[in-house]
């Protein structure tokens, strides 16, 4: 039997009873759609996370250190010196002193946010330029000036957009003057990158209970050398402090890799669960094919009497099962792609159904049809032509 005729016949059978065909394909449709939706959403989420991380700068490295006391410790002077000595690896270093849950007040408004104490280089390492004014200067840091640079959310909440420059407000009771407003990063909402206040780290240090700088942001010389820079910093700390429990060095790139591995594992797990639906769909196809073989026993007998060999009958039914699941797969791909884009827009994710997801889903669905169609097809092929011909 020619492939083309088998395929045409299979399609004809599919259209013969549309309701039944649809129900048969439903398992495959749901399975394929689920796989595509999940993969697309996970890809969208990964894309979003990677975007977020790259805002932090893929070349930046977080260093945290605990005060061990005495000489076996690293302070900001050591860090600056280390950076100067290793220009091949490190472009810049900024201390990062966080005052969590600081109370921020003007005469009319107040809110709670975290305040970061940094030095003048921080703007180059992490930030995306200023809308108005200037960033912190070396002199601000050196002279412990109570000045600050704020994000657009803080400006909007305290003064109104565009009104912040030159104003003063209080952080934990101390008065600060706004010298700069950062570019809007996101949507000027609470908790976003726009919800930020930067003050000189020297000032932040006096405001925090702990007089020790426990965190630094390091910018690697370039993206390629990040891993080398991490190693270099670790060596330095190892020499200086000795006990690795007292410090940690983590690049954004490492964190991204970790997160990607985790989401990858999660994706695999979810796709496996969706795959169960494909399996159930396959069993549905097997069931209906078994019914179809019984219903068409007479047809099989006629074909055999006309000279169809066992393999002709077998291939006819296998192709039919493959066609059912293949068409189901195509419908599933269409439904899944539409839903993926729809859910993506609901969740504010960029979801583009990937070509590989579509190809895999289609391949798997056809394979399932062929796999689960094989047993019914074998049953059909093994029918005795006399009994089949007499079958009513």
């Amino acid at each position: 039997m020619t492939l083309k005729k088998s395929f045409a016949l299979a399609l004809k059978n599919l259209l013969f009873d549309k309701m039944r065909s649809l129900l048969t394909m439903l398992g495959i449709i749901i399975g394929v759609a689920a796989v595509i939706i999940l993969i697309s959403l996970m890809n969208g989420m990964m894309g979003l996370m990677n975007d977020e991380f790259s805002k932090l700068g893929t070349d930046s490295i977080n260093v945290t250190v605990t005060d061990r006391g005495g000489k076996r410790t690293v302070d900001e002077k050591d860090m600056y010196k280390f950076a100067e000595e290793n220009p091949d690896y490190i472009k810049a270093v900024s201390p990062n002193v966080t005052i969590p849950a600081a109370t921020v007040k003007t005469a009319d408004d107040d809110l709670t946010t975290s305040v970061n104490g940094v030095d003048e280089r921080y703007a180059d390492i992490r930030l995306n330029g200023l809308e108005q004014g200037r960033f912190l200067h070396y002199s601000d840091v050196e002279r412990k000036q109570k000045v600050c640079v704020i994000g657009t959310y803080i400006e909007k909440e305290l003064f109104g957009r565009g009104m912040g420059l030159g104003q003063t407000f209080k952080i934990n009771g101390k008065s600060f003057k706004v010298v700069g407003v950062l570019n809007e990063e996101e949507d000027s909402e609470s908790g976003s990158a726009d919800d930020a206040i930067y003050i000189p780290y020297t000032v932040a240090l006096t405001m925090s209970q702990n007089g020790f700088i426990s965190s630094y942001i390091v910018q690697a010389a370039n993206v390629e050398i990040v891993d080398g820079a991490v190693t270099k910093i670790k060596q330095y700390f190892d020499n200086k402090i000795g006990d690795s429990d007292y410090y940690s060095v983590l690049s954004v790139k490492q964190v991204m890799d970790m997160v990607n591995t985790m989401t990858g594992t999660m994706e695999t797990l979810l796709v496996c669960i969706a795959g169960i639906s494909l399996l159930v769909g396959g069993i549905g196809i097997m069931n209906i094919m078994l019914v179809s073989v019984t219903e068409r026993t007479r047809e099989i007998g006629i074909r055999k009497s006309l000279g169809a060999k066992n393999r002709d009958i077998k291939s006819q039914f296998v192709i039919e099962a493959g066609t059912v699941s293949g068409v189901g797969g195509i419908i599933g791909i269409i439904v899944g792609s539409i839903l993926a884009v729809f859910f993506g827009s609901l969740l504010d994710l960029k979801t583009v159904p990937s070509f590989s997801a579509i190809a895999i889903a289609f391949g798997v669905s056809v394979a399932i049809g062929i796999l689960f169609g094989y047993l019914p097809a074998k049953n059909a092929a093994n029918l005795n032509p006399i009994d089949a011909l007499r079958h009513e």
Partner: protein, 259 residues
């Protein structure tokens, strides 16, 4: 018995029978007992003959037809088709023999309802592995022979019973088989249409085809050139289609004589 063959048939042949049954038995085991559906049948059918195998239901004629048609194999004995032993062939070998040597005409026409008339006629050609062009050409030629070329694109159920049977004849002829095996071809038709079909078979016979007709009806059997009567798995008559001779050989209480 061989003397009963028509002279025409003898004259056409060089001695190798088309169908040769050599002490064929078909035994079914039902629980403890054995049923001898065929109980030692020996016969020869030559090229160009028109033979009717007649017998009531349960006589073994259907089993006989299944074996002639390579749909079944005998329990013992030899069946030579054109000199080749086909009695021990495997499924797929039998399928090939059916495809090349045999054309079936069934009582219930046995057309496949989901495909059109032409596609039905193309089936044996497709299984023979002909190109699609060749399939179409031969199928249409064959439909021409039964006068139904105009219905090629119709679906079988759009045709009358007689037309469907003619389609099935066209299908049987399409592969140009050496034997046409007709199993009660008029059984589902009214008497007028039945007569037409029989006339058509006769016409095919005069064109040189070998026809084996299986029937329970003596009057239909009498239309053939030679009659073989089977009873209880044995041949009880083999000779001229003289109804007064073969119809009298019956069981006591057999009410099937329709002469």
């Amino acid at each position: 018995m061989a003397a009963a063959r028509t002279r025409a048939a003898v004259a056409q042949n060089d001695g190798v029978p088309l169908i040769e049954f050599n002490d064929i038995y078909k035994i079914y085991v039902m629980g403890d007992s054995e049923v001898h559906a065929l109980d030692g049948i020996t016969m020869k059918i030559y090229k160009g003959e028109f033979v009717a195998i007649v017998g009531q239901s349960g006589s073994g004629k259907s089993t006989c037809m299944n074996i002639i048609g390579c749909l079944d194999v005998p329990t013992s004995g030899k069946y030579y088709l054109r000199g080749t032993d086909v009695s021990t062939m495997k499924d797929d070998e039998q399928a090939e023999i059916r495809n090349k040597e045999l054309g079936f005409i069934f009582q219930q026409y046995n057309l496949i309802p989901k495909i059109n008339v032409q596609q039905n006629v193309e089936l044996p050609l497709m299984y023979a592995g002909l190109s699609e062009k060749e399939q179409e050409k031969r199928a249409l030629e064959s439909l021409d022979r039964v006068g139904l070329r105009s219905k090629a694109k119709n679906m079988p159920q759009q045709l009358s019973g007689g037309q469907q049977q003619r389609v099935s004849i066209a299908r049987a002829l399409a592969g140009n088989p050496s034997i046409i095996l007709a199993d009660e071809p008029t059984g589902a038709l009214d008497s007028k249409t039945g007569r037409d079909v029989l006339e058509f078979l006769k016409k095919l016979h005069t064109e040189g085809n070998t026809i084996v007709l299986i029937t329970h009806d003596n009057t239909i059997a009498a239309q053939a050139e030679r009659v073989i009567r089977i009873q209880d798995g044995r041949i009880t008559y083999d000779g001229e289609p003289d109804i007064s001779k073969f119809a009298s050989v019956i069981h006591a209480g057999d009410g099937e004589v329709s002469a």
